[in-house]
Assembly symmetry: C2
Homo-oligomer: 342 residues x 2
Amino acid sequence: MKKKVSLKDIALEVGVSTALVSYVLNNQKEGRIRKEVADRIRTVARDLNYTTNQIARSLKTSKTFTIGLIVADISNPFSSALARIIEDEAEKNNYTVIFGSSHESTEKLSRLLNVFVNRQVDGLIIAAVENSMNEIIRLRDMEVPFVLIDRYFPELNVSHVAIDNYKAAYSAITYIIDKGYKRIGMVTYKSSLFHLQERARGYISALKESGIPYNMNWMQEVRVNNTREDVEHSIRQLISQPEPVEAILFASNLLSIHALKHINTLSIKVPEELAIMSFDESDASYLFYAPLTHIRQPIQEMGQQATKILLESIDDYSTLKQVNLDTELVIGKSTLVEQSAH
Amino acid sequence: MKKKVSLKDIALEVGVSTALVSYVLNNQKEGRIRKEVADRIRTVARDLNYTTNQIARSLKTSKTFTIGLIVADISNPFSSALARIIEDEAEKNNYTVIFGSSHESTEKLSRLLNVFVNRQVDGLIIAAVENSMNEIIRLRDMEVPFVLIDRYFPELNVSHVAIDNYKAAYSAITYIIDKGYKRIGMVTYKSSLFHLQERARGYISALKESGIPYNMNWMQEVRVNNTREDVEHSIRQLISQPEPVEAILFASNLLSIHALKHINTLSIKVPEELAIMSFDESDASYLFYAPLTHIRQPIQEMGQQATKILLESIDDYSTLKQVNLDTELVIGKSTLVEQSAH
DNA sequence: CTGAAAGCGCTTACAG
DNA sequence: CTGAAAGCGCTTACAG
C-alpha cells in the first residue's frame, strides 16, 4: 500500500508545526490562527489528498468509533436484517461496525469478544448464546459498554433490547385456541436460553388458562446441531400420537422452514389437516401456499434502540436500560379455520 | 472502560524495560533472554491479564489484520452467506472482518471505502455496484490490495472471483429448450453491470443458436429501486403478449421471490402454465410447491478463493488472479415437462 | 546477551 | 496568538 500523506508532510510543505496543521484540520482554535496560514494548510491538505490516520488518532484519543456486533448466525435472515439496521444506525453517528457470528458457540463468542476488545471497540452489541453468562459478566467487569440484543439473562443487571417472549407466545396460543383448536403442539430448541424458556412458558400458560390439559408430548425439543432431522422427527411424533395435534407453534423461523419442507414431503394439508404458527418471518413463509401466521418481531426498532442505548452507554457508562418490545401477530392462511370446524 | 494493562505496567512490576517484555511476549530473541526473567515476565503478564493493544501495535507495524468486506446488501441471503464464509476464512488466518453494505449505491460505496482505508484495513473484498468503476480505479491507484467478488469490470485488470455468467445463462436456456420450450422470457435488472449483461447475452445466444427467433419483448428489465412492482408488471407483460412466453428465467433470487409471490396471487400453475428458472437459490424457492430449477453459484468456493487471493495480495501486492467458477444447474419441479407437451 | 532509544501519526496541555 | 514538546502503547534496529 502506498504510504499515506501525514500531518508532517503538510507541515513540512507549509512550513509550520504538525500541531498547527492538526488544529486547523480539526477546526480547533478557530480565529486564533492567522487566516492565511489556515487557508494555506487546508489547500495543501486537499492537494495532497490528506485523510486522517484513524489508527494514530485512536491511539491518542483511545476512541475508535467502532462498535462490535456479535450475532448468533449472520446467515439467518433475522440476524442479517438486524445487522443491516445496526450498521445504518451506527453510520449515522459516524461509527463503523465490526461483526462476527458466534455460531451459537460460547467458545467462539469468547474468542470474538477478545478480538473486539483488543481492537479497542468503543462498545458491543451482542446476541448471547447458551451458557455464555460468564463471558458477559467478564465483559461487565472490564467495564466495556455493551447491550444485549434479542437474547439476555434476566438475572444480570445489564442493558438489553428484546421482545416480551412470554407475552408473544401466550397471545399466539390464545388466538388459535379462540379459533377452536384444542390439541396444540410446540417445537422449540433444547436450550436453557431465557427467550426460549419464555416462549415455552407462554405456550403452557395459555393452554392451562384456557382449561386445556397440557400434554407433555406436545412439547418437542430439537437439538441446535441437528435441527433439520429433529424437526422432521418431532413433526411425525406430534401427528402420530394417539391424540394427534391439530396445530403447531414453532419457536423460530428456521424451525418452521424445515417443518414446511417436511410437511410438503408428507403431503399434509395446511391448515385443513394441520395449522402452523411461527416466531419470526422470512420470505420463505410467504411462498408457502398457506402464508404463515407468525409473530413479527420489531427488528427495526430493536436494532435502532440497541444502537442508541449503546451510544449512550459509551458516553456515560452508568447508562442502564432494559427494553422489552411488543410483538405483532400477523395472521396468514396457515391457521384459517371455519369457526365450526372444531 | 477500565484502563487496560500495558507493557509498561509489566515492565515496572518486573523491573525491566518495555522492550524486553515485548520481546518475551512475542517470543522474539528466544534463548537470548535469561530464562528466569522470561518466566517472570510471562507470569506477571498472565496475572495482570495482559492483552496486546492492537491499535498501538498497528500504528507501529502498519498492519491491522483487518479486512473490509463490502457487499451490495447484507440482508440478501446470497450476501450474508458470502459474509459468513469470508468471516470464517479470515478468522482462520487471524484476520477480523469489518463490513458494510453499499445498498447498490456508488456514493455509499465510496464513503465505505474511505472509512475502511482510513482505518487502515489490510485489504478489501468488494462486490462492485453500477457506475463504480472510478472508485475501483481510485483504490488501485492507492495501491490498496483488493479483490472484486461476484461483480467485476472486465476492462479492469484487477483480481476478481466470480462465476461464468454467460455460460450459466446459456446452459440454463439450452436445457429448457431441450425440454421443448420455445417462447422463453427473461426478467433482469436494468443495469450496465457486467454480470447482468453476461446473463442476458447468454440467454440471447442460447435462443439464437437453437434457431429460435428472439423477440425483444421477451426481455424485461426492472428497476433496482422498484423491484417488486416492476417484477409484477413484467410478468403480466410476458404472459399477456400475443404470443405469451411459456417459461421465464430470472436473473436473481430476489427477482424470482417477488415473481413467485405474484404468480401465487395470479393463480398461475407452475410449471404447467408457466415454467420458472432462476439464478441463485434461497430457502424460499424450496417452499414453493414447485421447487425452482435454478443456477447454483459455488458461494463457498467464491468466498474462500476471494479471501485466499486477498491474503496473497496483502503479502505480495503484485498478485493478480482472475477466477471465473462454473455453476451448477439444479433441476427442480418448476420446469418439469412431458417431453411431448410442446 | 541485554535493553535504551527512536519512532509510528496523531492530539492537546502548556509555555512563551 | 502560535507552536514546541510530551505522550498514547507498541516494535525493533542498533549500540554497548
